[in-house]
């Protein structure tokens, strides 16, 4: 069944582009339907559902080696939710009134989703690389979709940096193939484990790790990220920040470290170091931003730092916390990007110094953004509190007291830049010239409200979520600690 998650979107892309009448108008609803189906199924079905053999005739002709586990389920849900928010948010604005452009957008979005689904389910390094490239290329196009000069620059930077990452990963795959004779996760992991470690091995691991750092936008490999996020069309920023970099960079890192590289001391120290630097630099940089979306972009860097920090703890709690935080981050960061899109659409600017007092004019946007930021900072009862708590507990258990301390202190900086954002944009006195602002359009309100409700629900129903989605992750990860 798992292969259908890739095959159906690809098939849909082909159908949507058939030169038939009315097909263009149908592409958006069709894409939405597929996304909702994926989200619903991923939420309700256990991993075993996906690992069943596909009905004969359709999938059996494509022998793709896919597996879905508890970690994959969480990712599939995240992909579905964020894509849902992105497509609803972009429905009206993307491509203006041009139906052809809209259809193109839907196609590329589905391609991107297919790529991400593939990343989540693959079992070997080379397939992983292929799907990474699918997502990357789809993302370049999406960022520069409006051919806006700044967006082109952002996309260009992304292409260049991604190319660097690609080179590194491809080189790494080559080395590993040479060492292990195969690229499947299991073989490579076994090869890395059994043989004496040598320079080529660490070079391969290092190259792949750095490639993923670039994809994930971790400091100091993050240079492309603020430009790409902030210049992309609003729906695309949601997708990029919410899930694309998280899947291509962060999920892959979690997967490879847990299943292939193993938790060696040096990998853990590198993860902790990069995580800490990302948290602090991202948060401090966010503090100095005037552009709403740019601020959110830096905030993303900082939050990804938390995920990597959790992973770097090297124990089961750390991995669970990292995955949970990844999920939560995809929810609340998407929501903040939607809110920023709403503000930009209503006022025409993203410069926070030109905004103020919008809370009275856009109460829903203001409230949902407050919920999202409180969740990001880690205030109970919102979802972000629990994932941060698990990460900090994991750090404490693994005796990384300093990292735990920094993680807590950085929350204060997070609170500082977010409250400063909330105050500059939504609270306070209404700035002159903004008297005629109205509440955001439905396209932005609906996903904002849904995501805010999810943030609250996950926080309040945390025991259920923990039991059903987070704790299973512990069982499927072979926690290999190598020295």
């Amino acid at each position: 069944m798992a292969s259908l998650l890739v095959l159906i979107p690809l098939f849909a892309v082909i159908v949507m582009n058939l030169p038939l009448k009315g097909m263009r108008e149908l592409s958006f609803p069709a894409a939405l339907l597929l996304i909702i189906a994926q989200t619903g199924l991923a939420f309700m079905m256990p991993p075993s559902f996906w690992n069943m053999a596909p009905p004969s005739g359709i999938g059996s002709n494509f022998s793709l080696n896919f597996t879905v586990d508890a970690l994959g389920v969480v990712m599939l849900i995240s992909i579905g939710l964020v894509s849902f928010a992105a497509i609803i948010s972009g429905w009206r604005t993307i491509g203006g009134t041009d139906q052809t452009q809209k259809a193109d957008f839907a196609s590329i979005l589905l391609l991107c989703i297919a790529g991400m689904n593939g990343i989540v389910m693959v079992n070997d390094l080379f397939s992983l690389y292929v799907f990474l490239e699918i997502v990357a290329v789809a993302s370049f196009v999406l960022i520069s979709f409006h051919r806006d000069i700044w967006a082109l620059e952002g996309a260009f930077k992304y292409i260049i940096m991604s190319a660097v990452a690609t080179i590194m990963m491809l080189a790494s795959i080559g080395l590993l193939l040479m060492l292990a004779g195969d690229t499947s996760f299991a073989t490579v992991a076994a090869a890395l484990k059994s043989s004496d470690r040598n320079f080529l091995m660490v070079l391969a691991v290092g190259l792949f790790t750095v490639g993923l750092f670039i994809k994930g936008g971790l400091v100091p490999f993050h240079g492309w990220l603020p430009d790409a996020y902030s210049t992309a069309p609003s729906g695309v920023s949601v997708l990029l920040a919410g899930i694309v970099t998280k899947t291509t960079g962060v999920y892959t890192l979690i997967r490879l470290v847990t299943s292939v590289f193993g938790f060696t001391e040096s990998v853990m120290s590198i993860l902790l170091a990069v995580g800490l630097i990302s948290i602090v630099v991202g948060a401090l940089a966010a503090l100095g931003q005037k552009d709403f979306k740019r601020m959110l972009a830096y905030s993303s860097i900082s939050q990804v730092g938390y995920i990597i920090l959790g992973l770097g703890a090297g124990n089961a709690y750390g991995v669970m916390g990292a995955v949970f935080h990844l999920f939560n981050h995809s929810i609340f960061k998407s929501q903040l990007f939607i809110n920023s899109a709403a503000v930009e659409e209503q006022t025409g600017t993203r410069d926070m110094d030109k905004l103020g007092g919008l809370g009275s004019k856009m109460p829903v946007t203001s409230t949902t953004s407050l919920i999202a930021l409180l969740s990001t900072v880690g205030i109970p009862p919102f979802s972000g509190f629990w994932s941060k708590l698990i990460i900090i507990i994991a750090l404490w258990q693994s005796a990384n007291y300093f990292s735990a301390l920094v993680a807590v202190v950085a929350s204060v900086i997070t609170l500082a830049y977010f409250l400063s954002m909330q105050r500059r944009v939504f609270f306070g006195k209404l700035r002159a010239g903004l008297e005629n602002i109205t509440e955001a359009k439905l396209g932005n309100l609906v996903p904002a409200i849904i995501l805010a409700l999810i943030t609250i629900a996950v926080g309040v129903c945390f025991p259920y979520i923990l039991e059903k989605f987070i704790l299973p992750i512990k069982d499927i990860i072979p926690l290999v600690i190598k020295n």
Partner: protein, 614 residues
């Protein structure tokens, strides 16, 4: 039955107090009626219970704390006294408080105070005692604050002083709990004072007790309250009920809760506190020019005799101290009531504006003379006998304490000569011409109490045999202190002191030319005048000194707080923004820079991995 009546002693005044508060003021006389009824009932119940012994206990708040009560001769004696005073003062107030503000609150606090005192005295568990003891804090605050608009300052002062000393009491009780490993039943305690911990516990509880009694250095709210609070309050709480309660606890800890022995340092400490209280307060009383304020300083000074007497830890002293407690409650409330009559009839208590009212208010004047003679220790009134016993005890310890007490007597007599002369005799002041005698409900309490002073003096076996001496029990060591003092020396010395006071008064009046200036030669004596000036400015008030220290600590804390604030609000924020600026400067937007960063990062990571290989 006894148990129910014991509960009634607490419940009836408490319920009546709440009723007095909620009864609408439209119903004329309702509150007065409730109060009178409750105090009469209270009096009857305790008379019925008098002489009986009963104790019981119920499980209470947990932690092994039980609601235990004990009725025996000492507690019934205190309750009887308090019931008598509350009845008389209630009667007095029906007239005095008429047409004043906050009448409902006044009766409510009065009755609640009675309930609290009854509860505290009956309590046989220190926590139960503390419970009722703290309840008095509220009624004290309430009583003062209803005085007038500006009274809240005094009320807060009283509240803080009483609150702090109650805290000491609480700590002391906590220590007792610790020392006895969980036993807080008063009748079962008998802690030897041989460890520092036990002594500390004793002193902490003693602080609570003597401060309730109004001793120095916890006295300074009393003179202020004398001016601010309604007058019956003064006659009721500081002069009578609080003295009874405070000295009751002091006697309990000295007699049976702790093993206080003569010549122990704790006993000496109590005597020193007692002597200093006598002297300093009476020196202040001497120079007062206000009827009520003068009396209030005596209310402090007389506590000194009680603490001195009990502190001697010899039978004569203890009997004297306890006898003085009940005597003082009588004559001091009587004196305050005469002050209230004068205030009610003339509208002032300023001695400069009074004078010659004795002939218009003969009954008040007579009561004043009796009470003033009693407080000065003129034989054969009650104050004389109790003071002689205290002298006896003090002399047994050391002559210096005796000397201090005697000097206090001399000054007491001098100040009352001045007060009586200035208020009731001498030239008639135009302001008070043709004032009338006080109405009956105010006169009866005064007459009753003054009569009691005479009775307790002439027939001192009555109180001593029935009320005081049974308290000591074995500690009496077979002595009997009834009748005329045993030592001729002491009597002669007392008479000499009284004569000296009279001579001094005559000298002062002649020198100043008027009765109110009778103490001026002492007031302005070289060396003393500076001290008096400082005292009048409030510089010597421990409360003010405490406030200054607190103010200093507060400003210090404020500075520290500013520093911490600066650390958070300025240093942290500034350095965060500085870092932000540095980071922003690095993000030039050139992808070449970013690629270099990535490659350098890659290099570092590969290097790190390689190093881990070695």
């Amino acid at each position: 039955m006894i148990e129910k009546l014991m509960f009634a002693l607490i419940a009836i005044p408490a319920i009546a107090g709440v009723l007095a508060l909620v009864v609408p003021s439209r119903i004329r006389g309702a509150r007065e009626f409730i109060a009178m009824l409750a105090t009469i009932l209270n009096l009857f119940i305790i008379i019925a219970l008098f002489g009986k012994t009963h104790s019981f206990s119920y499980p209470w708040v947990g932690f092994g704390l039980e609601f235990s009560m004990r009725l025996y001769h000492f507690s019934s004696f205190i309750i009887l006294a308090s019931a008598g005073f509350s009845f008389l003062i209630c009667m007095y107030s029906t007239t005095f408080m008429m047409n004043k503000n906050h009448v409902g609150q006044f009766y409510a606090y009065l009755l609640l105070s009675v309930a609290m005192v009854n509860g505290a005295v009956l309590a046989d568990n220190l926590v139960v005692l503390l419970f009722f003891w703290e309840g008095l804090l509220l009624t004290l605050f309430g009583m003062i604050i209803i005085g007038h608009k500006g009274a809240y300052k005094t009320a807060v002062k009283a509240f803080i002083i009483a609150g702090v000393t109650d805290l000491c009491l609480m700590l002391g009780i906590g220590l007792v709990f610790y020392i006895t490993k969980g036993n807080l039943t008063i009748s079962k305690l008998n802690i030897p004072l041989d460890t520092a911990l036990a002594s500390t516990a004793f002193i902490l509880i003693m602080i609570g007790a003597i401060s309730k009694a109004g001793s120095m250095p916890f006295h300074s709210w009393i003179p202020d309250a004398a001016v601010d609070a309604p007058l019956p309050f003064m006659a009721f709480l500081p002069a009578a009920l609080e003295k009874l309660l405070g000295i009751y606890l002091l006697a309990r800890i000295s007699l049976d809760m702790f093993q206080l022995t003569a010549f122990s340092w704790v006993s000496t400490l109590m005597m020193v506190i007692g002597s200093l209280t006598i002297l300093f307060a009476v020196m202040m009383a001497l120079v007062q020019k206000d009827y009520k304020k003068l009396l209030s300083y005596h209310a402090i000074s007389q506590v000194g005799y009680m603490i001195l007497g009990i502190g001697t830890a010899v039978p004569a002293g203890i009997v004297g101290g306890l006898f003085h407690m009940i005597n003082h409650a009588m004559y001091k409330s009587c004196l305050f009531l005469t002050g209230g009559s004068v205030e009610k009839q003339t509208g002032t208590t300023d001695l400069a504006r009074l004078g010659g009212i004795g002939k218009y208010m003969p009954v008040t004047f007579t009561c004043f003379i009796i009470a003033a003679a009693a407080i000065s220790g003129v034989p054969p009134l009650n104050g004389f006998f109790s003071k002689e016993l205290v002298y006896d005890g003090a002399l047994e310890r050391h002559w210096i304490f005796y000397a201090a007490a005697l000097l206090g007597s001399f000054l007491t007599a001098a100040s009352f000569l001045k007060l009586g002369h200035a208020a009731y005799l001498g030239k008639e002041s135009p302001a008070v011409r043709n004032v009338k005698e006080a109405p009956m409900p105010m006169l009866i309490p005064m007459i009753v109490i003054a009569g009691g002073c005479v009775l307790f003096g002439l027939y001192n076996p009555l109180p001593l045999n029935n009320l005081i001496q049974p308290i000591l029990g074995d500690k009496l060591e077979g002595h009997n202190y009834t009748g005329w003092p045993h030592s001729v020396f002491l009597v002669v010395m007392t008479l000499v002191a009284l004569a000296a006071a009279y001579a001094n008064h005559l000298f002062g009046v002649r020198k100043a030319g008027k009765a109110i200036g009778a103490s001026d030669h002492i007031h302005h004596a070289p060396g003393l005048s500076e001290i008096y000036d400082a005292a009048e400015k409030g510089l010597l008030d421990p409360y003010n000194i405490g406030l200054k220290i607190a103010g200093f600590i507060a400003s210090l804390a404020w500075r520290i707080d500013r520093g911490v604030d600066w650390l958070y609000d300025t240093l942290t924020v500034e350095s965060a923004y500085d870092l932000t600026d540095i980071i922003k400067e690095q993000h030039t937007g050139k992808y070449s820079t970013y690629i270099i960063w990535s490659l350098v990062g890659l290099l570092v990571i590969i290097l790190y991995f390689s190093i881990s290989l070695i």
